[in-house]
Amino acid sequence: MIRFDAVTKAYPRTTRPALNSVDLEILKGEFVFLVGASGSGKSTVLRLILREEQPTQGAIHVLGHRLTSLTSRKVPYYRRNLGVVFQDFRLLPNKTVFDNVAFTLQVIGKSRGFIQEAVPDALKMVGLAGKSNRFPHELSGGEQQRVAIARAVVNKPAILLADEPTGNLDPATSAGIMTLLERINLSGTTVLMATHDVGIVDQMKRRVIELISGQIVRDERRGGYQTQAVPVQEFARYAPEEAHR
């Protein structure tokens, strides 16, 4: 689904690379947390998958596309397979909830009939069926993030990328968002979520990939936010096949 082979990303005019020889494989249907301090490279991973950036070294394969050799003409079509959610929602303030979700379908040329069916479905799925004519500023933060999620999944993407989607929300609202993401994951969408939220990661018991200074230091199947088992290097000594997953 997503594979990084020895990916290094150095931004221009910096000495230390943002990602340093990262190997990573995420399978279809997985729910993966990407944790680590600010500047550890979480966002860079997401940007590389979105192909907003190109790696300095190494290869990235997503959904059968080799991203390093994808022509820029094909990038838009590749991105139609991905859904993205951000901490700051990124809704269009002058469009209604319905139009915000419909916009993504309009700009990729979906028919009016398809939009009329898909948008209410997506809004119903995120629990905003009755609010399609509201404007974003009339909604709470949690509701705005639900709109953003509806927008991300309305085109039924194979992968959902979430960059700290609960960063601006209170714990109760965050829990609601996580339930929603879990439901989306259960329907077959691979979810990759970068987060700082200790509570959520500890509670969900999903695969956790921890980055420190651009290197993967931990990749646990059912991990918490903090290292609970032995560090990955120690771990590797006893169970190499597990650690290299």
Binding site: L50, R51, E52, S72, R73, V75, P76, Y77, Y78, R79, R80, L82, V84, R90, L92, F103, T104, Q106, V107, I108, G109, S111, R112, R151, N155
Partner: protein, 305 residues
């Protein structure tokens, strides 16, 4: 669906940047008017060349009793000298360059002079004796005048052989200079127009950067993203070029055909409205092309994936 969406985007972009759009319209209007004027001047030169070169003659002036220039020694050309020039004109060497020639006596020259300068006090000072007798030669090809000048100016009794195109060339030089000036001004204004269109499109893109960001994120194709912006520039330039076209047609209709042709009467042909109509599609095409290219360069920065 998509067309409606794109046109909606264009409309909102134009409304949002209305002052910039108006300035683009005005600058393209002025610059394309200059372009049109330059083209019309060139057309005018072409028409005048066609009209006058057909009428331009080589004049072989013969000596009068007053001349001491050329081969003259203050004696009038004798009949034998005149016959010799006529024989030369009819000779095999020259005849093939010559369409026809006629002899103009002093009296005929005097009559023509009186008719031409009837309003002027000069007419009363001139007597037939002061005017040269001459051969008026129409050439098959007006550019062969040099051959005639070379072979005839050495003959006795010939004061001067003159290619009348020389007078016209000065007029054409002035008109040419005017049209080059118009082209130069047009080029400067077009540079300003191109930069202004680019700035307008950048502003428009900046005010819609949220939409652009989301479009790129969800995989809208580059063509879809850039089309509204390019159309915005093209529409503004199109309005400007239509104004310029209207101005050009109006100038020809009211100034050239209305004022100039009554002032100059039938002394020359002038460009007409039908010529101005030929200029219109050129202006529209130039305007649209410039706007489309500068807008697409300006927007390309927002399309980097």
């Amino acid at each position: 669906m998509r067309l409606g969406l794109i046109l909606g985007e264009v409309g909102s972009g134009l409304r949002r940047n209305i002052s910039m759009v108006i300035s683009v319209v005005l600058v393209t209007f002025i610059s394309l008017t200059f372009v049109g004027a330059a083209i019309l001047l060139q057309m005018q030169i072409g028409q005048m060349k066609g009209y006058w070169y057909d009428r331009a003659q080589v004049a072989v002036y013969l000596c009068t009793e007053l001349d001491s220039t050329g081969n003259c020694t203050q004696t009038a050309a004798t009949q034998s000298q005149i016959d010799l020039v006529a024989a030369q004109l009819e000779s095999d060497a020259l005849a093939r360059y010559i369409e026809r020639f006629e002899f103009e006596t002093s009296e005929q020259a005097f009559e023509n002079f009186q008719a031409q300068f009837s309003d002027s006090p000069i007419a009363s000072f001139v007597t037939p004796e002061t005017l040269n007798e001459s051969f008026r030669v129409n050439l098959v090809n007006p550019t062969d005048a040099d051959i005639l000048i070379e072979s005839l100016s050495g003959l006795a009794g010939v004061q001067n052989v003159e290619d009348q195109r020389g007078y016209l060339d000065q007029i054409f030089a002035v008109l040419n200079a005017a049209s080059y000036t118009a082209i130069g001004l047009a080029a400067l204004m077009l540079v300003a127009a191109v930069l202004l269109i680019a700035t307008t499109i950048r502003l428009s893109a900046f005010s819609r950067r949220r939409e652009l960001g989301i479009m790129r994120l969800v995989g809208a194709s580059n063509r879809f993203i850039q089309t509204p912006f390019i159309l915005e520039g093209v529409i503004a330039a199109f309005v400007g070029s239509l104004l310029a076209s209207a101005a050009i047609v109006a100038i020809v209709q009211f100034f050239v055909q209305g004022y100039l042709s009554t002032t100059l009467q039938n002394t020359t042909t002038l460009v007409g409205v039908s010529d101005a109509v030929i200029v219109v599609p050129i202006l529209v095409a130039v305007g649209a092309l410039l706007a489309a290219s500068s807008a697409s360069v300006a927007i390309s920065r927002y399309l980097k994936v």
